[in-house]
Amino acid sequence: MSANELRDPLKAARGLGSAQSGVAHWWTQRVTAAALVALGIWFVGLVLGLLHADYATAHYTIGRPWNAALLIAFAITAFWHAALGLQVVIEDYVHTRWKEISLLVLVKFLAVLGALVSVLAVLRIALGV
């Protein structure tokens, strides 16, 4: 530290240390995973139930309140979990910094877009607009 530097080094360090959010990604990945265990099994059952359904039956079934709500939950959780997982894969294998950052941002954009479009599609089916 130079003699002219009067600021306490602690001052510089503050705000640059742990933000206490280091395990947020890990936890969110697990919580979405746990939700997807239930929602995923439910979704497979829903699809199997609609195996030979015509348009009217499928439209009516998907549009029923519980099915629509669970389907929205499934879509949001699945895209969220996918974004978290792809983030880890990208961080592990893409070592060119600009490519890594670009891919990470792209995955987030696409996941949010996918979730939004899914929600709108389910709402349109459920509300009949």
Partner: protein, 131 residues
Amino acid sequence: MADTRRPLSPHLQIYRWQVQMASSIVHRVTGVALAFGTLLVLWGLLELAGGERSFDQFKICVGSPPGLLLLFGWSWALFYHLCNGIRHLIQDTGAGYEIPQFVRSSWLAVIGSIVLTALVWAYVLTAGGAA
């Protein structure tokens, strides 16, 4: 390139094959596949929201041989990621890290995913084929 004849740490090709390697890497691969597979769900919802004609077209696409192959792969990937995901959630509690347990749970995830996939497609066949 620098001279890299210094000792390197051994990688996959050095080790004897073990089921835990497969269960780990396949979890990643199926995870990435399912991320794209989610688009299949999105596509179906969009076509259903788009009306009867677009939904019927979706059914024809999904019921075609390439579509069925895609669905078959999608179902196995889902069941594998589900089984091995539950295994990982249990391991997150600190349980199951003894080597024999670890190997056994790996096999359990692999075999469980195959059984579940077979059950689902057996149901599809007995229900008169897909789409």
